[in-house]
Amino acid sequence: MSTTIPGAATAEGSLPTQRGYWGTVGYRLRYDPVTLFFAALLLLIILSAIFAPLLAPFDPYQESIIRRLKPPGFRGHMLGTDELGRDVLSRLLHGGRITLLMGMVPVLVATLIGGGLGLVAGFAGGVVNAVIMRVMDVFYAFPSVLLAVAISGAMGGGVGNGMIALTLVFIPPLCRVAETATTQVRNLDFVDAARATGAPLRLVLWHHVLGNVLGPVLIYASSLTSVSVILASGLSFLGLGVKPPEPDWGLMLNALRQAIYVSPLVCAMPGIAILLTSISMNMLSDGLRSAMDVRS
């Protein structure tokens, strides 16, 4: 009680600087260098994908029979060349556009839909919960890769359908995480107290339930981003997602896989790109989660 807190010295009557919950979260994030670093890295990756045409040193489609599988640094090819002699850096920059799109958009949409469904299921309980969760269980019965392949196979290939397929695959697990977290929060007295004010349900959900559910959902969603990139590449590999010669990290990984003994360093490049992206996502959401946990 004797600890001085900022604003405590302000005269009575006048309101000292007040941060709401999200203000506090932002304040805490600003003093978390690790999270800030990975946020910057992620921003860099996204920006470099957006500005790929300006940044790429070579044409990503330009093949060369004599420059196949050259090591990094070979005649201006900073990251080497692939099995068809194309510049790996240029392809990574261009490939980032589709890869990031397929990695993030399905997770984002699935978080909104699955998280929303889980919130409703967890809060409503009873029959509503049973209906929603049993439908999700049906999706759970299939391995996620198989399900993605089946859905995009049924709808036809292409980036758009691939994203829809991935979204559908990610909804059930996100729904389950949200439902579990909501069920735990729902039975706490502060939710009853909020309901006891007679406030509309949406306000109770928004102010008292959501903030306590968002943490686990965000963490899980961010870990799904890397899964999404890999799954997208799997779809591309089967000819259901991105079509060659379109650059895509997953496709590149698949193609270069065969050259792992000839040019291991070049082979690793798309993997490193995927790794950096998913690590940034994970660290960012972990930082967000700990900033949101005001108790620590």
């Binding site: 309101l15 919950y21 007295d189 009853d192 006891a196 004010t197 007679g198 102010h207 306590n212």
Partner: protein, 350 residues
């Protein structure tokens, strides 16, 4: 703000001081127990059975009983946090949730609740002044104004708003959290507050402070309390009338002093005798009532207390005693010994 509150309270007082603030008739809640994969209802927990009572304006009604006797269920039913299976609830002359009466939302605006577990009853991710201001904001008070009022209420419950307003619940002690809970209930400018074991989890010294605070607030905000507790001493101190519950039923109800000096129901007497004696010479060696309460899934026939009652006779197992109609007497007990016509050998003379 405070004087305005009082004026507003007078306007909301529709029936005058004679009309009970709350009338509860035949309130019933049986929780189904589902078993098997199909979730068939195999039994019911009879948490609250045919409970009728009134709460007068400005009084404090204490509700006591062992754990599991249905005290908290009554509280949640009164707030409509759970829906009753049957029964009427009339708030200041208006039936709740019925045509021509008031809605549940209207009821909740006038009745607030303070919960037992001060830790889980505050949102861990919300500064406490925002928790207090949540209700008023939800009903359209501008945010800045509502937070200002919340800070004023913090002062009223004895906490410095500059020091405590922006804190999170984990930064407060149990007593401070309970003060916040009280402030949150007050923020809705209620006419009645249900205190469900509100001080039970606090240290004795803190408990006394909070009880004094509650008494002071009751006077200045013109409140009516329903005070639920298992602590008989506290209930006697704060209550005007006391209602004793056993296995979902009312066994005795009456003015606090009468109950404590002349309890009529054997269960009430046992409860009172189970208080630890302060005088070592009066220390008793045996518990006045033995065993646990019977299972509320299949409560005993007749009088539900007959399995533990020292005065039990065959009539107790066969026929349920009646509490008597409201208004007959101030002090009523549901016991065959109180009914000259019951056939109980120890029944009072007519």
């Amino acid at each position: 703000m405070m004087s305005a509150t009082l004026m507003e309270l007078d306007q909301r007082d529709r029936g005058g001081p004679q009309q009970p603030l709350l009338v509860v008739r035949n309130l019933r809640k049986h929780f189904p127990i589902r078993s098997g994969i199909l979730g068939r209802v195999s039994a019911h927990v009879r948490a609250v059975d045919n409970v009728s009572f009134t709460v007068r304006k400005g009084e404090t009604l204490g509700i006591v009983g062992e754990s599991g006797c249905g005290k908290s269920t009554v509280a949640r039913l009164l707030m409509r946090l759970i829906n009753p299976d049957a029964g009427e609830q009339i708030f200041d002359g208006d039936a709740v949730g019925e045509h021509g009466g008031i809605s549940v939302a209207d009821l909740r605006r006038q009745v607030q609740m303070v919960f037992q577990d001060s830790a889980s009853s505050l949102n861990p991710r919300m500064p406490v002044q925002n928790s207090i201001a949540f209700g008023p904001i939800a009903f359209g008070t501008p945010r800045v104004e509502a937070v200002g009022q919340a800070r004023e209420l913090l002062t009223r419950v004895g906490l410095n708003p500059a020091l405590f307003g922006g804190r999170y619940p984990h930064e407060l002690s149990g007593g401070q959290k309970q003060r916040i809970n009280i402030a949150r209930a007050l923020a809705m400018q209620p006419r009645m507050i249900i205190l469900d074991e509100a001080v039970s989890a606090l240290d004795k010294s803190v408990e006394a402070q909070v009880l004094n605070l509650l008494q002071a607030l009751k006077r200045s905000f013109n409140l009516t309390y329903v005070f639920i507790s298992h602590d008989l001493g506290v209930v006697r101190w704060i209550s005007d009338r006391v209602m004793v519950m056993y296995l979902g039923e009312i066994v005795e109800i009456g003015p606090a002093d009468t109950i404590y000096t002349g309890a009529r129901h054997p269960y009430t007497r046992a409860l009172l005798a189970s208080r630890p004696a302060l005088d070592p010479d009066q220390r008793r060696e045996e518990a006045p009532v033995s065993g646990d309460p019977p299972n509320p899934i299949n409560p005993p026939s007749g009088c539900r207390f007959h399995t533990r009652c020292p005065h039990a006779e065959p009539v107790c197992a066969s026929r349920a005693p009646s509490l008597g109609a409201e208004g007959e007497q101030a002090h009523r007990a549901a016991c065959h010994m109180q009914d000259p016509a019951s056939g109980h050998s120890q029944a009072i003379a007519a």
